[in-house]
């Protein structure tokens, strides 16, 4: 079960970070979070992904995770030890894959505008609020049915707990 409050330092990306940048196609032979994390964001050049391990939360602009439906994009981010991604908006396949991977994601365009790299933020999942330097930002809650998947740590766990009779 994920924490009800996630707190930490922020790394900030821009708009349209695609899933090829998050994890290149040649690494899709892996599904293990730790193996994938070794190559996460390496397209961004020297220092990646090592730099990201010093941060707790990724903040991004519009359309985070666009492009390929590769589930390993969210798995790689989890493998880096990142606890949540807050974006102005997500691409739909990344949004689904993150929930299915048990990675906390939050849509909050207002926070994106206000936050800078290295800032600390706190995400209160139950109340749908983010606090940052005395400011408060509200975000929409996920539908209950979808939140249950996230709370169980992802779709595989959810499925295991809810297998149809005889399967």
């Amino acid at each position: 079960m994920p924490a009800t409050q996630i707190e930490g330092r922020v790394f900030k990306f821009g708009d349209n970070v695609n899933s090829d940048i998050i994890i290149a196609g040649r690494y899709l032979i892996y599904i293990d979070p730790k193996e994938l994390a070794q190559h996460a964001f390496e397209m961004l050049g020297e220092g990646f992904p090592a730099r990201l391990t010093q941060y707790d939360i990724l903040v991004a602009g519009r359309n985070f995770g666009c492009g390929s439906a590769r589930e390993q994009a969210s798995t790689a981010i989890k493998g880096l030890g990142i606890k949540a991604v807050v974006a102005a908006s997500f691409a739909r396949t990344f949004y689904r894959n993150a929930i299915n991977d048990g990675l906390t994601i939050v849509e909050c365009p207002e926070l994106y505008a206000a936050v800078a790299e290295g800032d600390r933020i706190a995400i209160e999942l139950a109340s749908g609020r983010i606090t940052h330097q005395g400011g408060e930002y509200a975000f929409p809650q996920m539908p209950d049915s979808v939140r249950r998947i996230l709370e169980l740590g992802g779709l595989a766990n959810y499925l295991k707990a809810n297998l149809p009779a005889g399967s």
Binding site: N16, N18, L28, I29, R96, N97, N100, S167
Partner: protein
């Protein structure tokens, strides 16, 4: 209030009389497609201890990315997928010789108008070319659909695109889509459905419609629809394997609610190119003419179809590819390869200097045609993301097959209108 096509299909597949945008439904897909990712879904199935499928007849498996296997790891993974298909008696199984999953499934009559198709590939939107709702999902979700038969889906809002007029010579469906992606942006249709209408549609071939429905993913579309017409029926007639197979085309109601209407006069369009490293970074060809290229890739689910190869051959007939350019042609499927053999298109391409590979995803999925530092590739595929075809210091431009062929001859990005 009436319903859009996406609303009608999601209502029908979730057993509801009607649904509205924003609602979450449990929908039962008609086809669940998995490609080279199949082994990952198999591993999840084992991990959760499931052994039974909801309905093996709904599974379709095509080994298309990295085919045939190029390393031992790929070989092991493909063996896992193959063994799974045998063990469960999956009849819609296609091995490494068949081609790109999307094209193979449509060619073999596995996709019907009104169907709901989910699969491990973002370009599942292509099934909208036949009036079906196709959308991409992750491999764990594929396992979930295998076992439970269903998937939670949010009902999208819909944008209505109206295409009027005729393309000028040298301009095609690819240019139209690059124009739209540039105009609306990479998330301009984000989480939304796109429906295409207009007086231009009855003239557009199924191949062009596939290019449109495929590329619409690059503006974020969840699903895309070209309403079925006589051309759709003609395409499907010889392909529906069981003569008793019936399908019910789904059309929007006249009073369906659209978020926005976007109109395009096709006669005003010119050849377009997407510049590195985002598909939305589009420019009219006149602004990039003369950009040197090292490689030209003609293939992919966007533009590796027979008509795409034939258009390129029309330009390349009697001409030679510039010696500084590697022209790689990857037919989308075995059927396309055979058609190109019979018609002479393949011979024209090879005589011009093209390297022809086996059918499949090829260089678009990083299988061969890897780019070195500083190299420039022109590609008919749907993505030009940094490092997608090799070095992060290489760059990818995207164009139509006609622009690609003209550019391969010139050794630099060229305007196809000079060649036609």
């Amino acid at each position: 209030m009436g319903m859009t096509i996406a609303e009608k299909i999601l209502a029908s597949k979730s057993g509801a009389a009607r649904v509205a945008p924003g609602e979450i439904v449990d929908a039962y897909p008609d086809v669940v497609m998995s490609h080279t990712a199949t082994w990952r879904s198999v591993s999840v199935m084992r991990r959760i201890g499931a052994t039974k499928l909801y309905d093996p007849e709904r599974l379709a498996i095509v080994l298309d990315h990295i085919s045939p296997a190029k390393t031992e790891k790929y070989a092991q993974d493909q063996q896992t997928s193959r063994n799974f298909a045998r063990e469960y008696g999956i009849r819609k199984f296609y091995d490494v010789d068949a081609g790109i999953a999307h094209l193979v499934l449509m060619e073999h009559g596995h996709i019907k108008p009104g169907d709901l198709i989910v699969g491990t590939d973002s370009h599942c939107t292509i099934y909208g070319a036949l009036g079906s709702l196709g959308t991409g999902i992750g491999y764990t979700e594929v396992t979930s659909v295998w076992v439970t038969g269903k998937l939670w889906m949010k009902v999208p809002t819909t944008l209505r695109f109206v295409l009027n007029g005729q393309f000028v010579i040298g301009v095609s469906a690819k240019d139209l889509m690059l124009h739209l992606i540039g105009r609306l942006g990479a998330d301009g249709c984000g989480y939304k459905s796109a429906e295409f209408y207009g007086d231009a549609l009855p003239r557009m071939s199924i191949s062009e419609r596939m290019t449109m429905a495929n590329l619409a993913m690059e503006m974020g579309s969840k699903c895309v629809f070209v309403p079925p017409d006589e051309k759709t029926a003609e395409y499907l007639r010889p392909r529906l394997q069981d003569p008793a197979t019936q399908y019910q085309p789904v059309y929007a109601d006249a009073d369906a609610l659209y978020e926005q209407e976007i109109r395009v006069d096709l006669s005003q369009l010119e050849p377009m190119v997407a510049c590195p490293h985002q598909v939305e970074n589009t420019k009219p060809i006149t602004e990039v003419v003369g950009t040197r290229i090292d490689q030209a890739f003609l293939g992919s689910c966007a533009n590796g179809k027979y008509e795409d190869l034939a258009v390129a051959a029309q330009i390349l007939r009697g001409r030679k590819v510039d010696p500084r350019v590697r022209l790689i042609v990857t037919p989308g499927s075995r059927e396309i390869l055979l058609q190109a053999m019979h018609s002479g298109v393949l011979q024209t391409l090879v005589e011009s200097g093209a390297l022809v590979t086996n059918p499949g995803c090829g260089a678009c999925a990083g299988d061969g045609g890897t780019m070195a530092d500083g190299e420039v590739s022109l590609s008919t595929a749907n993505r030009n993301f940094i490092g997608r075809m090799g070095s992060p210091k290489s760059s990818i431009y995207l164009s139509s097959p006609a622009t690609l062929a003209a550019s391969a001859v010139k050794g630099a990005i060229a305007d196809p209108r000079e060649f036609l």
